[in-house]
């Protein structure tokens, strides 16, 4: 017939204005361009200039417009009128809400500040919320790291002064072989996708070690479908093979690690297992040039990895001897570990060979001169182009700390940390343990805490214990149960507060933490603890204040709700004092600012804390005359100084001769400078300082100048960890501070100063025949924690979460499409829909985490599939290990760090008749925000 081609306007106006801020759809903190039409948000895309995402943006980020306009947004402060958990509230004014909060909190501060437990969830303002809690005076503060990744963070910092993800990254431009361990789909988002894209583009190899072959593991060139919880053993088998073949970087080990440092090997000596030190306390090595003892860092010293030393009657051996003696043992051979790990010996050997070949036969040499901390000048920077990344699959096990240590051992033996092609730190890292604070817990009524809550203990003397030796914190962080719990134990707060152990609290104050649902183990039990009453009919946890932007499950359990803004309506700072957005080649921080005004009676939580701090008269939040020190959070960001010249933001500070970066006085126009620059600040690291950072004089001087630290702090990597040995020594009966007897065995085993592997704790005491399968969860790439399901676009992508079963299990039980299964653990039972997945470890089942929703939450229909067929594995996981008949409560956590061990779960499965809805079911909670609309035809402009 015909052809008619209409004239098209191919250059329509895109928007009235672009406002650049920082995404908050997950924890990556990418830069975004928010297109505004008629004062409303029209479209969101990535900021091309931003150091984190360089213009790209993930599904969550692009769907931010639906989050910003979500029907689940809270609209006003709420006071509970129905019973806890009912979701029945009345709207109140902000004045009333703040008066209630002040009335509850002021008496606690005057009598016993520890009666306040203040825990924040996916808080991106921890240097601020921690400061507020410190000024209040309670020891009970932490964020959600104990639930998420403290094993990774603590192992990294204790071993090499930094860890994966936020503290470092692979050298994406130069690495030739990239191995990922336990990397779920959700952490991290754009940076790892961009990195894998770069590797693929130039034909570098990616190897995924993960029981589930999805996401990044699906595009990996090789997949190692390991048995959950055995990564540490697998890694040590690679170490065994590399040692046997001598394929390790001896020069690097001698210069930059404690491998040459001499260890006391006399079991009768009081210093058994500790370093030989000189009178100044400096660890000693044998200088290969002279054959004599020397401090490890003396200019010109050539530390000897091989020589032993006898002093008096005591033999001292270098750490390298201990490493060889340990890992050359046959129990680490590929044949010995194959069965436990579920990986064929040949495959382990081939991987070890590929690592060795890439590291040593494809060495990278950059022609960049640099000077090390011993004063030696180097002509080049030499690199081993093998890099690693790891995440929750390692972290969320009760052996995760030592597993992450094992991975760092492997990296360091290869000489592939902080070298070209390897793993690189991001400022303010590298930062050794000795540059971090120790924990503080001394409470004085009407006074601030004696220092920061969280830190890194060097030995038993740094534990947070009261005078009687009992845990000082409600979560028992930094107690003998988990001495190195650097992020606290959020997952134990409600359980301990309910049990009154170690003591009772009055007010539980939570921010952005969905503890009544997906952010707790034993979710049903936690709901009961939150609503439980004593003999007088009073709630066992007397008061709960909660701040969230959305009608999450936790809202229903609060007595007072403080509604937060969306991320496009608020000020924030992503600070170098906290968890900044730095890259390996630059220090960087960023802000959020209100790109649109809130249209509801809501306030940014941090601004509310400024107000509440002033009402409570907290030091730092009031001026000399008692008036509020900060009008709001923006005022705090601009004017607060942590110490003279150092504030939350490093860019555009006021120097003696005008604007400067790093150290400088507050600048009233600082936020405007950030906005004009796209919402972020970047300070590139000079090329001669960009690698070898812990030992590189140029980097150390640069970092001091920028204000990251006050004096150069070079250090060597700690393959052998003396702090761990000090705890182990205490468990052996030495020293003034002694663990309770029932914990001695656990500490002796878990605090091995060399990385080792032990079977995950719950698994070790569970009948493997009764519960033969490992059960895991992960978040999909297009969702972040519980937030995604309120998002009309994202829930169409991930609205269902069947339990995925491997072929062996699928066939053995005769499952067919549409079937349901009853899944049991030592702790509980769920009945859920199942689906088949072949690319899966044969003894592992898994599902998407937090798709399942409580009926009535998130402004969803009570018929939403998330509430009828969705489910949580959390019901199968307890915060305590199964009882051992000793009357003690054993936390289901890593005994070193307190990391919640939710990947240790073992289950049994059987076919079940399909119930009407997944089980357990919980009644609907009343929605304080109503329900979402029946149709969306979203268009802001015409």
């Amino acid at each position: 017939m015909t052809r008619y081609q209409p004239r098209l306007d191919t250059s329509p106006p895109v928007s009235d204005e672009v406002r650049q801020t920082t995404c908050y759809m997950c924890a990556c903190r990418c830069g975004i361009d928010v297109h505004i039409k008629d004062g409303r948000v029209a479209y969101i895309e990535g900021n091309r200039d931003h150091p984190v995402n360089r213009g790209v943006l993930c599904a969550k980020g692009s769907a931010g417009i639906m989050q910003h306009n979500s029907p689940a947004r809270l609209r006003a402060p709420l006071k509970r009128v129905g019973p806890r958990g009912s979701g029945e509230f009345e709207k109140i004014t902000w004045d009333e809400a703040l008066e209630i909060a002040t009335g509850w909190l002021k008496p606690l501060r005057e009598t016993d500040p520890a009666k306040l437990a203040f825990f924040t969830g996916r808080d991106q303002s921890q240097s601020f919320t921690g400061y507020w809690a410190q000024q209040f005076g309670t020891p009970n503060y932490a964020a959600h790291g104990g639930f998420c990744s403290v094993n990774m963070a603590a192992a990294g910092i204790y071993t090499m002064g930094g860890s994966f993800w936020e503290f470092g990254q692979p050298d994406w431009d130069l690495t030739k072989l990239f191995l990922i361990f336990g990397v779920a789909e959700d952490h991290d988002s754009n940076p790892i996708k961009m990195g894998i894209g770069k590797l693929k583009e130039r034909g570098a190899r990616v190897i995924g070690v993960n029981p589930v072959r999805s996401g990044y593991n699906a595009v990996a060139d090789d997949w190692i479908g390991i048995t959950p919880g055995t990564d540490g053993l697998f890694i040590l088998s690679l170490v065994h093979e590399l040692l046997r073949a001598g394929r390790i970087d001896l020069d690097y080990l001698a210069r930059y690690t404690n491998a040459p440092i001499l260890v006391n090997r006399d079991s009768k000596s009081p210093d058994y297992g500790l370093f030989l030190r000189d009178d100044d306390g400096k660890p000693l090595v044998i200088d290969r040039a002279t054959g004599a003892l020397a401090p490890f860092d003396r200019p010109g010293v050539q530390p000897d990895l091989a020589a032993s030393h006898r002093q008096g009657d005591i033999t001292h051996k270098p750490v390298m001897h201990l490493i060889a003696s340990r890992y050359l043992q046959r129990r680490y051979s590929p044949e010995a570990v194959a069965g436990t790990c579920g990986i064929a010996p040949d495959k382990i050997r081939r991987l070890a060979a590929e690592i060795a070949r890439t590291a040593f036969d494809e060495e990278i040499v950059l022609e960049r001169e640099w000077t090390d901390f011993r004063g030696e000048r180097h002509e080049v920077m030499r690199g081993r182009p093998v890099s690693f990344h790891a995440m929750r699959g390692i972290s969320a096990h009760s052996n995760g700390f030592q597993t992450a240590r094992a991975l760092h051992l492997l990296q360091i033996l290869l000489g592939s940390v902080e070298v070209p092609g390897g793993f690189r730190f991001k400022p303010p890292y590298p930062k050794p343990v000795q540059a971090h604070p120790t924990p503080h817990c001394k409470v004085t009524p009407e006074r601030p805490l004696d220092g920061p809550h969280l830190g890194f203990p060097r030995g038993p003397e740094d534990l947070a214990l009261d005078e009687a030796g009992n845990p000082a914190r409600i979560d028992k962080a930094f107690s003998w149960e988990n001495p190195l719990s650097a992020h606290g134990l959020m997952h134990m707060v409600i359980s301990n507060a309910h049990a009154g152990e170690p003591y009772r609290i009055d007010t539980l104050f939570l921010y952005m933490a969905n503890m009544a649902w997906n952010s707790s183990m034993n979710t049903g039990g936690v709901m009961e603890m939150l609503t439980d009453t004593d003999e007088n009919g009073d709630y066992v946890i007397p008061r709960i204040i909660y701040s969230d932007a959305y009608s999450s499950e936790m809202v229903a359990y609060a007595d007072l709700v403080l509604p937060d803004t969306t991320y496009l309506e608020r000020h924030d700072c992503i600070s170098l004092l906290d968890r900044p957005i730095s890259e390996a080649d630059a220090a960087a921080d960023a802000i959020r600012w209100p790109v649109v005004a809130a249209d509801r009676d809501v306030r940014g939580f941090q601004s509310v804390l400024c107000d509440l701090g002033a009402r409570l008269g907290l030091p730092g939040f009031v001026t000399a005359d008692g008036s509020a020190a900060y009008a709001d959070y923006a005022d705090y960001i601009t004017n607060h100084e942590r110490k003279p010249g150092i504030g939350p933001l490093a860019g555009w500070r006021m120097g003696k001769n005008g604007l400067t970066h790093g150290r400088g006085a507050p600048n009233p126009a600082q936020l405007n400078s950030y906005i004009a620059n796209g919402g972020y600040f970047v300070k590139p690291i000079p090329p001669e300082a960009a690698y070898m950072k812990p030992w590189n004089t140029a980097y150390q001087d640069w970092a001091v100048k920028l204000g990251l630290f006050d004096a150069p702090q070079p250090y060597v990597f700690e393959l052998y960890s003396e702090p761990l040995r000090r705890f182990q020594r205490a468990a052996e009966g030495h020293g003034a501070r002694q663990p309770p007897d029932h914990l001695r065995g656990q500490i002796r085993a878990a605090f091995d100063p060399l990385p080792d592997w032990y079977r995950p704790l719950e698994e070790a005491q569970t009948d493997a025949a009764a519960y033969p399968l490992h059960a895991l969860t992960q978040r999909p790439m297009a969702m972040y924690h519980s937030w995604g399901s309120q998002n009309a676009w994202l829930r169409q992508i991930h609205g269902h979460n069947p339990l995925y079963l491997p072929t062996k299990v699928w066939q053995a039980h005769g499952f067919a499409e549409g079937d349901w299964a009853r899944v049991t653990s030592p702790h509980g039972e769920i009945t859920v829909p199942v689906a088949h997945m072949a690319a899966l470890n044969e003894n592992t089942v898994w599902t998407w985490n937090a798709i399942g929703k409580r009926k009535g939450a998130w402004a969803l229909s009570t018929e939403a599939p998330e509430a009828t067929k969705g489910f949580l594995l959390n019901h199968l996981i307890h915060e305590l290990l199964p009882e051992r008949g000793d009357g003690l409560r054993w936390s289901n956590s890593d005994p070193v760090t307190g990391q919640a061990a939710w990947f240790d779960l073992k289950v049994a499965i059987e076919k079940a008749a399909p119930p009407a809805e997944s089980r357990p079911g919980f009644g609907a909670i009343a929605s304080p925000v109503g329900r979402g609309p029946a149709e969306l035809t979203w268009k802001v402009g015409e």
Binding site: S11, P12, E45, G46, G61, K200, S214, V219, R244, R288
Partner: protein, 260 residues
Amino acid sequence: MTDLPTTTDRKLGLVIDLDTCVGCHACVVSCKGWNTENYGAPLSDQDPYGADPTGTFLNRVHSYEIQPETGPAQLVHFPKSCLHCEDAPCVTVCPTGASYKRVEDGIVLVNESDCIGCGLCAWACPYGAREMDAAEGVMKKCTLCVDRIYNENLPQEDRVPACVRTCPAGARHFGDLGDPDSDVSRLVAERGGMDLMPEQGTKPVNQYLPPRPRDALEPAGDVDVLAPYLEPVASEARGFIGWLDRALDRLPGGRDGEGP
């Protein structure tokens, strides 16, 4: 019936790298966002907070498991949108002329003011790439962001489809597949790019790059080329320390090494 142009000046389209696509749905949502706000009617969503949410998407990602004859199963992510076929059956089947293929660049579009929502084009498309918008009653499909790629209100570097601009892994490429010297044509040549369902005879412009071979570490054959890299120097600690001592001597600065 509607005619196709006999030739087009250019063949603009996408090259999608299945070796690299991690299945993150970034392209799906940025497409949804841009095309809700821009060309034609918004992409609507029905029952968006209810029991059965369904909406209009111009680009979706499907995931398929593949079981090779040997070795472990694989998972491939497969993004799919209109392929802007040279012989587009969705155009020739259109009773009103609303569907058309542009002469200058080959983009297949729907002129919404002429679309009667009969759905014949969706039926004719073998790829299922067209979606009827339930709110507006018109057919929606990928426009290759025709309102971006020539848009003088956007900086030059942003004149690419929204899905290409946003793809975090760099798995999506945009260009003229009619020009053998273009970057996309070269990529197709180098990586063995393929038509989707060539037997349909639609001559799709979009091309897919196949996944590279996987699982090289799986045992296969007797000869292990990597074995020399693990030749043992010692089998237990004592022998290792002896090797260590000798090896240290050979390092620069060691007894047998070079200066200083």
